[in-house]
């Protein structure tokens, strides 16, 4: 639904949108009352635990559960035999990841599960399950997995989109290509061409709340599931299919969620909990330990990337090429496609080509991590752009301004951009005091731009008017960033009532129509748009009730400042009726008053960001400290500025961790060596400075108030911004993440000795 012709978000005087009220779930969250995934209990509840393969690659020859079943307190055991033999092809990989089928494909892959009367009994029972593994050779590195002779994970994997199709199976699931023109032509026009290879390690979303659920299946086959998830409708539909239930018989309630960032957009333990509960005839609570979260949920890809860019001395980028090699764990689906599409999205290029390879390895099946694929691709491209700027002696923002995508530019991934805010962000960054602040010794400054698509999707909202004129707003997208507050703001704005009179809940799957997952930065856009439309629907009905009361035609009534009014002196001389007035009279004028919207929202606006980072390098140890950080990002329209700033800062912080310290470390034995917060090092409070934010607002024409998604773009520039800063401080180009001290020290020592630059 497009921007109102009458409403220009840049000049419109919003009454409540754009203010910073307290969030409706706030008091519960600061008092410990809020209930998260592991906080629910049920009478007679059993504890579920999962047995996981210690081998990165092994044929599961047999599973003997007899001894475990005899242990007192064990009420149910499930294995691959308890799940359907075949499912819809689109769900096959999900199912085989939830419970290993023929092979265990990574260290941590689930092979069996028990439900018992206590955690101690469950743990004991797991030890009694006998699994006969035939250990196979494994591969965890993306480049190694692509080489001929690498251990093959799936004997039927033939690389897609390759002509002619390969005759032998490999670990390359698919090849994908985007772009237009011919970069080779572009490179010939350049004065300088830089080509570099970059590598990044796998990282995890790092949400503090482990996956948790409480499943309860009755003898009539109906089930209830309490779960922390970003998409409870997806959970319902997927679990129903995997467990063999009618969708209507499964009711899923989304708990408060302790972080997701994309990692909770799929299912891992939920089908197992349901299967256990059905078998045991009792509720089953299944919670992942932190170690299980790292080993067996969905980290993002490790990558190997080649980028080549050519530029003229005058600063025009004449050609861009990238080959991205992403491994997505044991099943197809790395975010290489999104990475390939977004790699050059910031630039107006005549010649651009990106080729992406989706590779499988013996690692856990990847899940989305905040702008999946884009941060890695941006790291590579923005590093090369930075190097080229230095080569031609041009300011890095100036170089980007000279080539920035704008309205009408044909993007590197196909469509033409309509109104976008990249140039606004670049100019705001350049004007910011951070950009011209002096640097101290051993410090360097880095700049990078980033892009994300943002998504729409299926969304339902119901808005019910209560007898006292307050409003119950019912949405179906789990609140992962403060969205309930934003929805209440938008509803209150449309209805012309105080923010405090609107109360939002996230309904369960039986109470509302289908909603897509809270992902893709879609909630403030889609649920917001649906909320606005539901409010307008309610307004239409409220006006009709007033018309009925006054005995005038419905179209002679307008809604202003929370009141129904006659549209003009000809319509009649009636005192305005408030929402409360009309609510009180609802029963007598036709019954309950509600507004609805069921939509497949489109018109989401892409968003751009520019980040600036100052890094200091200890020349004797290689340790990197971030001294200053600024995020400039286009939000379209900030409904609740505090939560927009929060998204900017959170994405930046994850990017900082990813750039400097976070990585999955695999041993030669193919086992994950650091499945815990001690050695998987996310930033702590003393690692970071204050993170300054600038909200740029270039309205998205596709949303009534101009909203663009903000949740993901903020993690796209940091890897490059920090790499550029560290490269400047260290005096050597950093091409590998994370830039942990040993790497930085080695790079600096290598550069000193005149050795090859990495």
């Amino acid at each position: 639904m497009p921007l109102d012709a009458n409403l220009d978000p840049r000049t419109h005087e919003f009454k409540v949108v754009g203010t910073r009220p307290l969030r409706p779930d706030g008091v519960d969250k600061v008092t410990g009352r809020a209930k998260f995934g592991a906080d629910a209990n049920a009478p007679g509840m059993l504890v579920g635990k999962i047995l996981r393969s210690p081998h990165p690659h092994a044929r599961v020859r047999s599973i003997n559960t007899a001894k475990a079943a005899k242990l007192p307190g064990v009420k149910a055991i499930v294995t691959r035999d308890d799940f359907p033999a075949s499912v819809d092809p689109s769900l096959r990989d999900v199912l085989y990841n939830v419970m290993a089928r023929e092979k265990a494909l990574y260290d941590g892959h689930a092979v069996a599960a028990v439900a018992a009367t206590s955690a101690a009994v469950a743990r004991k029972a797991l030890k009694l399950i006998q699994v006969d593994y035939e250990i196979l050779p494994h591969v965890t590195d993306v480049d190694a997995a692509m080489k001929p002779g690498a251990p093959i994970l799936h004997k039927d994997m033939i690389t897609e989109n390759v002509e002619p199709a390969p005759k032998k199976a490999s670990n390359i699931a698919g090849r994908h290509e985007f772009g237009h023109g011919d970069p080779e032509v572009g490179f010939k026009q350049a004065n300088h061409v830089v080509e570099r290879v970059f590598k990044t390690e796998a990282t995890h979303q790092g949400y503090i709340e482990p996956h948790a659920c409480l499943a309860s299946v009755g003898t009539d086959g109906t089930g209830e599931l309490w779960v922390c998830t970003q998409g409870h409708f997806m959970v319902r539909d997927t679990c129903a299919a995997l467990v063999g239930m009618d969708v209507s018989k499964l009711r899923v309630t989304a708990s408060e969620i302790g972080g997701g960032f994309g990692g909770k957009t799929t299912v891992f333990i939920e089908p197992v909990a349901l299967a256990l509960s059905r078998k045991a005839g009792k509720p089953v609570k299944l919670v992942m330990s932190r170690e299980e979260v790292f080993r067996a949920s969905g980290p993002t890809s490790s990558t190997s990337m080649t980028v080549k860019v050519g530029v003229t001395n005058a600063g025009r980028i004449t050609g861009g090429y990238a080959e991205l090699r992403f491994q997505g764990g044991a099943f197809t689906g790395s975010p290489v496609v999104l990475g390939a599409m977004s790699a050059f999205a910031c630039y107006d290029l005549e010649h651009v080509k990106v080729v992406g390879y989706d590779v499988v390895t013996n690692r856990p099946k990847q899940a989305a991590y905040r702008a999946p694929g884009a941060p890695m691709a941006a790291f590579a491209v923005e590093s090369v752009i930075d190097e080229l700027a230095k080569k031609i002696g041009m300011d890095p923002i100036e170089l980007r301004l000279k080539n920035a995508a704008k309205e009408g530019t044909k993007s590197s991934y196909g469509p033409k951009y309509n109104s976008i805010g990249l140039i606004d962000c670049l100019e705001a960054a350049r004007k910011h005091p951070h950009y011209s602040a002096p640097l101290g010794p051993n410090q360097g400054r880095g700049v990078a731009a980033g892009f994300w698509f943002n998504f729409g999707g299926q969304t339902c909202v119901s808005l019910n008017v209560n007898i006292d004129g307050t409003v119950a707003l019912v949405v179906g997208t789990p609140d992962i960033g403060g969205s309930r507050a934003s929805m209440c703001l938008m509803a209150a704005e449309e209805l012309g009532i105080p923010y405090d009179k609107v109360r939002a809940i996230v309904a369960d799957t039986s109470s509302l129509g289908y909603n897509d997952i809270s992902e893709g930065s879609r909630v403030t856009f889609s649920t917001g748009l649906a909320t606005i439309n539901a409010a307008r629907d309610a307004v239409t009905k409220l006006c009709a009730r007033a018309a009925k009361i006054w005995g005038i035609p419905a179209d002679a009534v307008v809604w202003e400042n929370g009141h129904a009014k006659p549209s003009g002196p000809n319509a009649g001389n009636f005192e305005p009726l408030s929402l409360e007035d009309l609510a009180k009279k609802a029963a007598k004028t036709g019954g309950p008053i509600a507004g609805h919207c069921e939509v497949n929202a489109d018109g989401a606006g892409v968003s751009f960001a520019v980040h600036m980072a100052d890094a200091e390098v200890d020349r004797e140890t290689g340790r990197v400290q971030i001294k200053r950080y600024t995020v400039v990002q286009d939000a379209g329209k900030a409904i609740h500025p505090s939560y927009v700033e929060g998204q900017f800062q959170g994405g930046a912080a994850q990017g900082i961790g990813w750039a400097i310290n976070e990585e999955y470390i695999y041993g030669k034995d193919g086992r994950l060596q650091n499945p815990g917060f001690l050695d998987y090092r996310i930033p702590v409070a003393s690692d970071l400075p204050m993170i300054d934010t600038v909200i740029v607002e270039v309205p998205n024409p596709g949303h009534p108030y101009g909203v663009r998604g903000v949740g993901e773009t903020s993690i796209v520039p940091p890897l490059a911004a920090i790499a550029n800063a560290v490269s400047a401080a260290a005096g050597v180009r950093m091409t590998q993440l994370p830039m942990s001290a040993p790497h930085v020290l080695k790079a600096m020592d290598g550069a000193k000795g005149g050795g090859a630059r990495r």
Partner: protein
């Protein structure tokens, strides 16, 4: 069958008794036996601080304390920070400054921040950051948390 331990302790000012296994942590007891689910398990190994509670006036990771150790001691959890009708300044400022997004780390931060301010009513930004380094937050980047603690400290110094 393991012999159970009998414990009498004080939680948020109230006398409480429970039976627990020897290897049950105080966190397990709070959440699974006493229904106090405000303290969270983020890691179970003392690396994230989401389970922070006060034990005899000091902030500890309750996942690294045995339920048996609480005998005769004083335990304070997030459920005991507010009074019956009023939020603590830290809770108010966390809300006002949007110092929480998903909120899972918030109980731990409130306990740690309260102990920090009880010890040091006028901390510098650096002291706040190092004082709270034992509490992981993945959503906020800590910026608004630090500002909320500074604001609460200022408020508490006033009266």
């Amino acid at each position: 069958m393991m012999p159970k331990v009998q414990v009498s302790t004080t939680i948020n000012g109230d006398a409480v008794s429970y039976l627990c296994e020897v290897d049950e942590t105080l966190l397990d007891v709070l959440r699974d036996r006493l229904g106090l689910t405000g303290s969270k398990e983020g890691c179970g190994t003392g690396d994230c601080g989401a389970c922070s509670v006060m034990l005899d006036g000091r902030v500890v990771c309750s996942c690294l304390v045995l339920g048996a150790e609480a005998e005769g001691r004083d335990v304070r959890t997030v459920e005991g920070i507010a009074t019956a009708d009023k939020l603590h300044p830290l809770q108010e400022k966390f809300l006002e400054f949007a110092a929480l997004q998903c909120g899972i780390c918030t109980p731990g931060f409130l306990i740690s921040a309260k102990e920090l301010l009880d010890r040091n009513p006028n901390p510098t930004e650096t002291e706040i950051r190092f004082g709270l380094a034992g509490n992981l937050c993945r959503c906020t980047g800590y910026d608004k948390i630090v500002r909320a603690v500074q604001a609460a400290a200022a408020e508490m110094r006033k009266g």
